[in-house]
Symmetry: C2
Subunit: 480 residues, 2 copies
């Protein structure tokens, strides 16, 4: 990228039909673009037609968006073709975009005038009440940068609900919500939005009572006909953490039946030995990695959830109601140890092919299934060291590896994981953290075309929580 | 064109990505399109992107607009690429269009749903207070149709000012205004808009006092840096006719100095023999016909204008102020007879090449220059019969041939001209009359691409005036 002028300079240039430039707003934001288009050298004797391409990252604006090879709709591609009448005119792009860069191409204008773009302005929108504030100077610089970028990611996804990505899908997903809520409790404190999101899920279950994996807020709250079993479990976890973070017992009590219903639905899917198998009937997400077997990881999610439900029941004074969860935790843990642990390789396997994946180890560890901390640490280390083990491709799953590492005392390795994964995004120029990132293949996309990727995706904002709530990377002498 | 369903049927179909249909609103209109886009078979998990092409005539929507070969800006091409979020949604196209047909192409949508278009609605806008009403049944059917289509043309151009064409240029031009005003006095009676337009021109002269050929109303009234000498003259004619039609002497008096200034500027351009020569320094329009020499025609326009100024001065009680115009009419007429008349061919010629054109005969006749009615009639007949004579390509110039014919008693030939020219547009399927039409080459364009043509262009609405005010085609026994 070669800067050719500053912002004030833009308003001194004019552009004929066929010309193009890229405006760099210096920082990622979610919002609206406006400008004043002014004809130069003549009264405007025609409208102008522009193509505006909104870039979260340079590849969005430096490469053509077409031909598009993705398998999700090209309607997501971040461009607008607009025609502006009656120049000089202030034009505000009606649709919200997520961007740092805007490529402006003058597709058509009369040859009698050039177009000057004045007051090119990005109007950022967020529900965050405050701007991100950095960690103390005592933290290493890279940590402070990861933390700030994580907070900006959260800020730009924090709208009337926690969106997964402000470019795409602009929806509220349970899995993303948990990580956003955690980061929010220690940074932007949008507790009210967390609460709103919990009610959106609770109010839009499917007929069997499972909350949907995602809900749409607009044009009116609607469930997304996508149910995700691990996400349904995480609804309970998110509620427990919300009550813990805010003390909002009334909300906890009101939504308690919804949380219980998730657990009941999940427990009904266990086999006679109390093991969960991904039948494919209802989606388990865990990660986008191709070929991932999700049975073991989802088993871990359910146990993790049962423990949190017990904790929530204590706070809500209804422990007797779920007294049977305790023995289920033990039974499910024993089943996993007996059937999933491969003692010879020191890892937990998943599915009939006995697949080894990093995600499965993470959830098994977070569920407290390993008999000892050593076994837990070894499982994580063995999977990460095994070139044949399935590695995740999303920050979402990387988060759970880091969270699992912290849960079993691998703080140094957790920090190194964050440095090598989130830090690598920073090194690649990230202003906000991305939906998907495979360090081994940075141009990969889960959707078949990187222009369909979301480069500000809230499930990647969790390092702010890891640093602040879990003490990751905290310098000696720094207060918790 | 093959109708596949009626309007109600549209709302029963749905269209996947890649599909397209053409909606026919049955009549040309100027206005806004809206519809409700509804996802079918699934909640909408993506936006949709549509290309909307607005057709005044079938070629607009039946042929691709690109590649575009016109020399005026492609920004005029009547299409919108719009992206609609959060379905189901009501979408209203922000820009005004002129159309009967709308081609809807679903450029992109998620494969999970089809798009149903409900309540596809055209919201027509006009300043006309009433709908066109037809001529009495006693008139021949073709005349009644030409009259009605002329009125619809006027209605759709009649906005906050008289636009030349609601698709393009959407501007107020003096030449168009005169014909629109005349048609309006005998049909839709938008006298207030005529008055407003006169003041717009009067208020936006160039520095020497000549009114501009066109003015822009938006974003604020601005002159169009295009001065047209014959149009400047017609400002006076339009004012005279406005006062005659409305009796609004106050307006006549207030704008009288502006009209006088036009005449003074024009007279200053005569040579010592009182003949006008088109120096090319300031544009004369007359017609779009390629190669047209405009000196003789513009000379006729000026004499025609002087006569109307004398008439206006009488009404305004200021005849003495322009007493010198009378001798100038005589002198300019004599100069034209002496220098432009080719007695051997019985036509008036124009310019150093002694070009013979139909437009020149028309204006010379309208100016009352020929010594007798026979000479006038012969000049028009000779030019029209001469295959080498330059023929016009716009309804504007054809109007003046018809008006000239009526002025010298060629009523039957005037009617036949209207039948063969405007009637041919009807035969070609016109819902409104066109900016340009060469019966010998119906797909011709003054702009190098028929998709740049305007197919509702107000300077073609004058037959309504010819029929109603000038008695053209009036059946025996029909009241004037």
């Amino acid at each position: 990228m070669r800067p050719v002028d500053d912002g004030a300079g833009l308003a001194r240039r004019d552009w004929p039909e066929g010309a193009a430039f890229i405006a760099d707003f210096g920082e990622h934001l979610t919002g609206y673009l406006s400008f004043r288009a002014v004809p130069v050298n003549s009264v405007a004797d025609s409208p102008i037609r522009l193509r505006l391409t909104f870039g979260e990252v340079p590849t969005d604006v430096a490469e053509p968006l077409y031909p598009y090879s993705g398998w999700i709709s090209a309607a997501w591609l971040p461009e607008e073709i607009v025609t502006v009448d009656d120049l000089p005119a202030v034009f505000r792009v009606a649709r919200r975009h997520a961007f740092r860069y805007v490529k402006v191409e003058v597709l058509a204008a009369s040859r009698r005038f050039g177009v000057r773009f004045e007051a090119m302005t990005a109007h950022a929108v967020t529900s965050a009440r405050t701007e991100p504030s950095p960690l103390p100077d005592a933290y290493p610089e890279w940590i402070r940068r990861v933390d700030l970028v994580a907070q900006r990611t959260l800020r730009d996804c924090l709208q009337t609900a926690f969106e997964d990505g402000p470019r795409r899908d602009r929806r509220l997903w349970v899995g993303d919500l948990r990580l956003q809520a955690l980061a929010s409790y220690v940074t932007l404190r949008a507790d009210d939005v967390v609460k709103r999101c919990l009610y959106l899920f609770a109010g839009l279950p499917r007929s069997d009572g499972l909350v949907n994996g995602c809900v749409y807020e607009r044009p009116e709250p609607t469930y997304g006909d996508t149910t995700t079993l691990d996400y349904a479990a995480l609804f309970c976890v998110t509620l427990q953490e919300y009550v813990a973070a805010t003390g909002d017992l009334a909300c906890g009590r009101e939504l308690w039946p919804v949380a219980r219903r998730q657990v009941d639905c999940l427990l009904a899917r266990l086999d006679d030995t109390l093991l969960f198998h991904d039948s494919g009937e209802t989606w388990c997400f865990i990660d986008w990695a191709f070929g991932l077997d999700k049975s073991a990881a989802t088993h871990g999610v359910i146990v993790f959830t049962l423990r949190r439900m017990l904790a929530l029941a204590d706070v809500l004074d209804c422990a007797e109601e779920v007294a049977h969860y305790g023995p289920l935790v033990d039974g499910m843990s024993a089943a996993a140890r007996a059937q999933l642990f491969d003692a010879s390789r020191g890892v937990y396997t998943s599915g009939p092919e006995q697949q080894v994946s990093c995600a499965a180890q993470a959830w098994i560890v977070l569920a407290g299934i390993p008999e000892s901390r050593d076994i837990a640490q070894a499982a994580l280390r063995n999977a990460l060291a095994d070139p044949a083990a399935l590695r995740p491709i999303t920050p979402y799953a990387y988060h759970y590896i880091a969270e699992a590492m912290l849960a079993c005392g691998m703080d140094g390795e957790a920090l190194e994981l964050v440095r090598s994964y989130w830090g690598a995004m920073l090194d690649a120029g990230a202003d906000t953290f991305w939906e998907a990132f495979d360090p081994a293949d940075p141009l990969a996309s889960p959707y078949g075309d990187i222009h369909a990727n979301s480069y500000c995706h809230a499930w990647s904002c969790s390092p702010a929580w890891l640093f602040r709530a879990r003490g990751l990377g905290r310098p000696a002498g720094e207060a918790a």
